[in-house]
Amino acid sequence: MADLSVSLCGIKLANPTVMASGILGTTRLLLRRAAASGAGAVTMKSVSLLSRGGHPNPTILSFDAGMINAVGYSNPGLEETLKEFADLSDIPAPLFASVVGQNADEFSRVAERITKLPFAAIELPLSCPHTPGYGTLAGQSTPEATFEITAAVRKVTDKPIFVKVSPNVPAIGEVASAAEKGGASAITAVNSMGPGMLINIEARRPMLAFKMGGVTGAALRPVAVRCVYDIYKTVKIPIIGTGGVSCGAHAIEMMMAGATAVGVGSAVFDGGMGVFAQIAREMEDWMDRNGVEKVEELIGAAHR
């Protein structure tokens, strides 16, 4: 039977699937349920220093080729989050924290406290395309800002840092390089694409309350795969390939492009929390049929 386990920055995942940040990761109990449903690792919803209500609704919609969202980093803020995730001992998979800030200082202030929680790693999304003051809209996706923020957080934690990058930049390799130089332990590639917009033609209005939002799911997959491919050529640190993965074949494609682990977000819409186990099962079947014993052999296979 195929060995699906991967080692990501020394963290052992039973299978390469990682529940992406912002999907169901609001509470300890939901993380536990997702982990119990078969995710190789789970990521909490991003936390900011202060509590945020996020954008008004609609915040998440789907279209014929994927999803679109402008949630706007709703989260109860650092202090509440410290309480919520204080004890993670009964969760049967590694957990990743996700920290956002308006500048390097805020990132490190939050990360410094979050690092005390029993998360295995800290993810830094520098790449949200639809939240003013954060991510791309705050200029955090440039190589310079990426380096600065990563280096600032590196000073306050010994845990692995995953820098989450945007697909909407001209040269993603440079951003990943800057993260690596700043002390990142892995790159999460990618965050939502765009932003995009959907208009309700009867109402003659954009449907998302924030008007525009990040595009994810099927529409994002080819771009995400190319980003992972580019980053794999550029940096030495591992990659969590994320974007549009909804079946075992997609996960294998991501790994062949260069990913060590595979983020799954929008696919929960169709597949529910069982989607992680389903993807793992499909990967296993494929490996068995193709005589691949360890899934790690597939990492970067498309480059060879």
């Binding site: 998440i60 949630v71 009867e202």
Partner: protein, 264 residues
Amino acid sequence: MRHTVEQPVMARVMEVLDDAPELRTLWLERKMKFQPGQFVMIWIPELDEKPYAVSAQAPGHIAITVRKRGPFSTRLMEMRPGETVGVRGPYGHGFVPKPNGAIIAGGCGLAMVATLKEARPEMPLFFGAKTADEVIYRDRFPDMEVCTDDGTTGYRCFPTDRLRPRLERGEFKVVYTCGPEVMMRAVFDLCEKHGVECQAALERYMKCGFGLCGQCTCGDQLVCQDGPVFDSKALRRMEEFGRSARLKSGQKVTLKQYADGRSC
């Protein structure tokens, strides 16, 4: 691509009925198949989008019943025939009808169980409101047992007080409930005591409505997708049921703080 497109589709408001001073029913032009207990997301462009029970249906039409609360419900109640709102859904899992049931509702929670009562007219319906003015659907359900806090109409007691003796007599095998969560918790505890199944329609702050954002969580359940109707087995496992809920930010607060005077 397997997935369905989840987007609000505009529906015309056909009729607006005053149920009570702060409660209105809006009839919408929309064909929909749904189970009692499911809900729809109602969108007012450039304002917000929130969940509402489907409170009634007619061929090609559905209704929602709105209680005046904040800016959104206020604007919704101001809608005039001819205006449009966005509708998506239905979402979630509704009530599972079984024999020998009773329905107990409080405030505009009645909207959530009204179509269940219509589907199973033989089930007794206990309804509680603060005062006579807030009693709705009287003509629709002439057999409804009405209780008010102030006794201005019907019995002066909580509807649970009317349910209790009949539960004790073993009249019901299952109780369906929707209303303020303290009431639903009391109903559930009563059912537990008498070994009777309870199905309660919970309310939590919702965003996506289809199980992705994790906003509407109660215990490890998603109210939008696993619920809004939960049975005794699920309710038993939910520490938060009757105790706490989460604000829009995800902050956990007491039910009191969350509802802050809400009656449904």
